[in-house]
């Protein structure tokens, strides 16, 4: 998201650098138009002027041809511009040819013509190329396809100059879609703000204040630097303030969203822990490695789809979700049966043993898949994002994880509160002996519950594979954070985990914006340590009279 907007700002600046020159050209072009009167098709003379001569003359000729014949979207001119951009134009004896493969045709008339001997390539430098690209966009302003028109406006934002004003005016008159009309108006203001007439500039400066584009802010800043008319300057400042306040909202919402996104990931990670640690009291240091297994399961499913069903590739995530759950749950069940079972009631020993398991799991994955990260690709419906504000795009994969975390949360809550297994788990947690007396197979319930927690870790890994790197160390980075969530949330219920996960995520991102990532993390850790001073049992402590 941020990258995209930066690029746009950068381009805006570059195009403005050529602004002054184009001002001059525009005047030339205007004169030329007046002298010749409107002509509706590309003439051989025009084609020649565009193709031959020094850069300034060629650009002027292009502008003239555009303003003369563009309201009908002259197909010959369009084809000619395209051919120039594709380096398919040759010159010979005062005539201009478009050469595609072996076939040559006259650029103006479009009729096939044999290419004379000694035809020279027309070479376009970068400036001409930019002018050509702007011309292509300008021609597309009159396309019948609204999406193409919208693209054309976006394309012109960076390359337009005053020469195109008449064109934009005509396009505005012809435009029926209100949304596009607004965009055109913004475009017009962006072009006009560098016009030679102060009145025009003033009008444009005021108009620009209604924009919410990061590019507009850059444009206004740029103009503020060179503007010498006091009235226009005041208008520019006012507009800049307006644009900035609008942009600030986008940034604030962006921070909030990335905080929620991190929070949802922490929540997913911590939900598994809430079961294994919160309900069962097992410190599982291998939780991160169970996530890693989920992520690698996703990777395997992705590869299987790519190999055997490339047509269904987009659907692989739907298979990867259950696969990652099952893979991690099986490993979890195995862990519980072989190791953890013997350590109930000895949390410190459990901690060490599960740390040992985590080392073994990590090394196993490293031996099988290598120490390098593996590539997990987003399906097409998870790439890209939802543009909410001009400078705020919410990536689909992060939105998906937000939704996914909510669904898993609801699922776990229902499982614990409504199902027979959930009832047994709660019973065993509250009073193991009593549960055993009334016929609950506590050993089996333990295995199921632990496998469930592990499976949820696997789901978290599947989700993480969509936003981050998948490697043997994937789990290590989250283990401290996720234990913090559980410690902060308090043991024994899910609500605390939810609040703590989301709260820590948002807090982390807020502090990150203020102090940078590392200090933010340290501050969060210190805050947690201080918080636990006040409430050693977490946000939602279970009430009781135990002395311990």
């Amino acid at each position: 998201m941020a990258q995209g907007s930066w690029r746009r700002v950068g381009q805006g600046r570059r195009s403005l650098g050529t602004g002054l020159l184009t001002l001059l050209l525009a005047a030339l072009a205007l004169l030329a138009t007046l002298a010749h009167g409107p002509a509706h098709a590309l003439t051989p003379e025009q084609a020649l002027k565009i193709a031959e001569g020094d850069s300034d003359e060629r650009i002027a000729a292009l502008a003239q041809a555009l303003s003369a014949g563009a309201d009908q979207a002259d197909p010959a001119l369009g084809a000619f511009v395209e051919a120039l951009l594709a380096d398919e134009v040759k010159l010979a004896g005062g005539r201009v040819f478009i050469v595609q493969g072996d076939a040559a045709r006259d650029a103006a008339t479009g009729q096939a013509a044999p290419l004379p001997e000694g035809a020279e390539d027309v070479v376009n430098n970068n400036r001409i190329r930019r002018a050509l690209e702007a011309a292509r966009s300008a021609l597309q302003l009159f396309s019948s396809d609204a999406a193409e028109r919208s693209r054309a406006i976006d394309g012109l934002k960076d390359g337009a100059d005053e020469a195109l004003l008449p064109l934009i005016d005509r396009a505005m008159a012809a435009e029926r879609e209100p949304g596009l009309k607004d965009k055109l108006e913004q475009l017009r203001a962006a072009v006009m703000v560098s016009a030679s007439d102060p009145a025009k500039r003033l009008q444009a400066a005021q108009l620009l204040g209604e924009s919410g584009q990061p590019a507009t802010r850059a444009l206004l800043l740029e103009r503020l630097g060179v503007e010498d008319d006091a009235g226009v300057k005041a208008a520019l400042t006012a507009s800049l303030a307006a644009v900035e306040s609008r942009l600030a909202w986008g940034e604030r919402l962006g921070v909030l969203f990335s905080g929620l996104s991190l929070g949802s990931i922490l929540l997913l990670v911590a939900l598994g822990l809430a079961i294994t640690y919160g309900l069962m009291g097992v410190i599982n240091m291998a939780h991160g490695e169970l996530m890693m297994i989920g992520a690698y399961a996703t990777f395997l499913v992705q590869n299987l789809f790519r190999q055997f069903a490339p047509g269904l590739f987009d659907a692989y995530v739907l298979v990867a979700i259950p696969a990652s759950f099952v893979a991690a749950a099986l490993v979890g069940a195995l862990m519980e049966r072989t190791v953890i079972r013997w350590l109930y009631g000895r949390p410190l020993e459990t901690l060490l043993a599960t740390w040992g398991i985590s080392l073994i799991l990590m090394q196993t994955v490293r031996s099988i898949f290598g120490a390098q990260n593996v590539a997990v690709e987003n399906p097409s419906w998870l790439s890209g994002g939802l543009q909410v504000l001009p400078n705020l795009t919410l990536p689909w994969n992060r939105l998906f994880i937000l939704l996914f975390a909510a669904l898993v949360l609801v699922g776990v809550a229902l499982l614990i509160s409504r199902t027979r297994l959930g009832l047994f788990v709660r019973g065993v947690t509250q009073n193991r002996r009593m549960a055993s007396c009334v016929g609950v197979n506590t050993a089996r319930v333990d295995t199921y519950a632990f496998a469930l927690g592990a499976g949820i870790a696997g789901l978290a890994g599947c989700a993480l594979s969509q936003v981050g790197n998948v490697g043997p160390d994937l789990g290590q980075g989250y283990i401290v954070d996720s234990f913090m969530v559980v410690v902060l949330g308090g043991v024994g219920q899910l609500a605390g985990t939810v609040y703590a996960g989301l709260g820590l995520g948002v807090l982390n991102k807020l502090l990150e914006g203020w102090q940078g990532a590392v200090l933010a993390k340290i501050m969060v850790l210190v805050l947690i340590v201080l918080f636990i001073q006040k409430r050693p049992q977490g946000i939602f402590a279970l009430k009781g009279r135990s002395a311990d």
Partner: protein
């Protein structure tokens, strides 16, 4: 109060001192290199390193084996002691660094013109040696005071200490902190003006060994004293100790701070021997390894952690040469096996076997 050691114990201590202070230096420095009795430099530096680890394991045992508090942040104290020593060693490089500057290379590289405030005393050996003790000690005291006062215990305490060392690692990874970022300190040249050559390394080895023996005797004394009894009572039933009129916070805080100081000293001895200190020493994994040394050797015995440190690190240096990819499998399996089958560690196993042997004889 028990006597710290019986006659057999004192003999053992004497043998250890002779081995460390006489046998190893002679075999390494005086016996010619082509003799079968010559001890290679590699083994001296390995043993010196492990002696420092053994001090950490002993410190861990006091707090975990005898008081029941598992710290997953002891690597932090070890590293802090090491950094305090490293700062002094960096200043000792003088103008022999890459950039021929008074400032350490990394500061020249960062374009710093003067030393940050926390380097003010780094030129003085005495001051830095005080810091080796004070920094871990004060940090442990403050942290412990907050933690024990609000009765954070058990797994909570372990996790918070892990977070503490993790946070410190992140902090030390930053260049702005003034500790050389992720490269840390290295390329040391001198201590007190004396070049760090093989003789100096043997001297450091002897020093580490004697400090270990000293700490061992001190721990022995503490464990046998009345305060030591209270610590073990806290481990077994803290609430009952409290209801008997003792204040567990004081005891826990004292032993916790002492344990941290021991680790700091170990770090200070470690750094000149291995020639590098970086934030990797503060990683949660490094701290949890200290716990496994103690557990492998045998918690609740004082000789156990020393045995454990030698066993695990000896195995590590062998595995990482012979089967590098299997080392983590072995270490992981060790974690599991010790917790499942050897709750009293190697020493416990040995005692059991001896007892069986005696019963068999009888």
């Amino acid at each position: 109060m028990d006597k710290p050691l019986g006659p057999r114990g004192w003999t053992g201590v004497l043998v250890a001192i002779v081995l460390i202070a006489v046998v190893v230096p002679v075999l390494n420095l005086l016996v010619p290199a082509d003799s079968v009795f010559h001890l290679d430099d590699f083994y001296v530096s390995l043993a010196g390193k492990i002696l420092c680890y053994a001090i950490c394991a002993l410190a861990m045992d006091l707090i975990w084996g005898y008081t029941g508090i598992l710290s997953l942040g002891h690597g932090l104290f070890f590293a802090l002691g090491g950094y305090a020593m490293g700062m002094y060693l960096m200043r000792q490089i003088g103008t022999d660094g890459q950039y021929r500057s008074e400032m350490p290379d990394f500061m020249v590289f960062l374009n710093w013109k003067e030393f940050p405030w926390h380097w003010a005393l780094s030129d003085s050996f005495v001051a830095q040696m005080l810091l080796v003790v004070l920094v871990p000690g004060v940090l442990a005291f403050v942290f412990g005071w907050f933690a024990f006062r609000s009765r954070i215990k058990g797994v909570y305490f372990s996790i918070i200490t892990q977070a503490l060392t993790f946070a410190a690692m992140l902090l030390f990874f930053r260049n702005e902190t003034g500790f050389g970022g992720n490269n840390g300190f290295t390329d040391f040249k001198r201590i007190l003006g004396v070049p760090i050559d093989q003789q100096m390394k043997v001297l450091l080895f002897v020093l580490s060994g004697l400090v270990l023996v000293g700490f061992f005797l001190m721990s022995r004394f503490i464990v046998g004293s009345k305060a030591g009894r209270v610590l073990q009572a806290i481990r077994d039933a803290e609430t009952r100790v409290m209801f008997s009129g003792y204040d567990p916070v004081k005891y826990k805080l004292a032993i916790w701070t002492l344990s941290a100081v021991m680790c700091g000293v170990a770090g200070a001895l470690y750094v000149p021997q291995v020639g590098i200190i970086n934030p990797g020493e503060m990683s949660p994994a490094a701290s949890i390894e200290i716990a496994i040394w103690a557990a492998v050797g045998g918690r609740g015995t004082l000789i156990g952690p020393i045995v454990g440190a030698f066993f695990v690190n000896g195995a590590k240096s062998w595995f990482t040469v012979a089967f590098p990819e299997f080392w983590l499998f072995f270490l992981g399996a060790l974690f599991i096996a010790v917790t499942l089958f050897l709750p009293n560690g190697l020493v416990g196993l040995w005692r059991k076997l001896m007892r069986r042997g005696k019963e068999g004889e009888a």
